[in-house]
Symmetry: C2
Subunit: 220 residues, 2 copies
DNA sequence: GTCTATATCCCGATAGAC
DNA sequence: GTCTATCGGGATATAGAC
């Protein structure tokens, strides 16, 4: 820890970065909900006021964590995808990375998807998604010349990956490497299944009778 | 509002139920995170202490909301599924209901899936899942005599439905009936696609090279 | 079963000194 | 850029009266 030459008080070389790290640890232990700027400060041994020199408010710090998370996310996906040959295998690899990221970098996943940060307030956050989105463009190699089909497939695969990831975190919060790998493989298999059955994505769902569904009141 | 005959102080006929309702409204407005027992009391015009006669703590009340939510959830699914003929159509209908539930009963969905209530603490909460799980047994009519395949398919469909639901809430928090119906239809189509491609679910995913993935540190 | 009152704790954020 | 001090607010939960 660097110490200011002028007085006895110490400085962080980079308090903003230290705060992001502390936030991640804190979120890992208590969840996004249990995170507070005050506690992060305490852990770094700085005053509760210090963070506000660098982040406008709590959300501002969370947004920085999310940006950081998306960088890791994109890197994990890219690494996993790298050597896969055909488009389907690349997409399956993406899903595998998606699930792994959720499990291995849980606090980052939580911050990105559950912190409730208003994206429109943080353009850098929107920009941080781009590298991920680009990787999804592989779908066009599968649905050649049919942009609508490609979009539908991309959405379906995103939903599937996200679903497996979220369900893993909910059902097995303490999953070890073994379980994580197994879940990632199942998700990857589901990706291939979805691709195989993709013809049904564009087909009309044949009836939408618009039932009346029971409301809360009718069940009292 | 019923008033006690004895004094000037009023009672609720059913404060526990009133608290659950108030909680739902509050969660609808501010999300689970913004919910507090104190605010719910305030809205009902009772003291902040009153709820603790009926619920041990905040989580206890949230668990009650979740149970309520699961009843509605099961009812919505059952109603949508009712008249569908073949298993695939029934499963597609379930997915449609799943997504609709998330969008139309957002606070209940949030409470069930995001409130972070410790299920093991609330057996009634586990029991409330059963009616939903039973409906998923339709998969056995598709994967006849192959229990493993049926389980894999059930998981895949659950993940898909959940993924579409969560993504809808994240991407279009203000979705109207139109958008909701469209999203539900896309999810239903994805269900049919997954079923169509289900052969790939049991197939080995052919390679699991276990890359080294970049860690947080290497990106600093 | 509900109220009043209270104890205890924590948080976000700001002002002003150094 | 960080600190001290502080304001203002809200939460959970308990004790004891009615």
């Amino acid at each position: 820890m660097p110490v200011s030459a002028k007085g006895g008080r110490y400085h962080h070389g980079d308090l903003p970065a230290a705060l992001v790290d502390a936030a991640i640890e804190l979120i890992a232990e208590r969840g996004v909900r249990g995170f507070s700027v005050a506690e992060a400060s305490r852990r770094l041994g700085v005053s509760a006021a210090a963070p506000y020199r660098h982040f406008a408010d709590r959300d501002d710090l969370l947004a920085a964590v999310a940006v950081r998370g998306l960088q890791v996310f994109a890197a994990m996906i890219a690494a996993e995808v790298d050597d896969a040959k055909d488009p389907s295998q690349r997409l399956a690899a993406m899903t595998r990375a998606y699930v792994r990221f959720a499990a291995q970098e849980r606090p980052l996943f939580e911050t990105i998807f559950r912190a409730g940060v208003d994206k429109s307030r943080y353009p850098e956050l929107q920009r941080a998604w781009e590298p991920v989105d680009v990787l999804l463009d592989v779908v066009h190699e599968i649905c050649v010349g049919d942009a609508a089909a490609a979009d539908a497939l991309a959405l379906a695969l995103e939903a599937t990956a996200h679903g497996y990831a979220v369900m893993l975190l909910e059902d097995e919060p303490e999953a070890g490497p073994q379980e994580i790998a197994a879940a990632a493989d199942r998700a990857a298999a589901a990706t291939l299944a979805m691709i195989a059955g993709r013809a049904a994505l564009s087909a009309p769902s044949h009836e939408t009778p618009s039932h009346e569904t029971p409301s809360r009141e009718t069940l009292g």
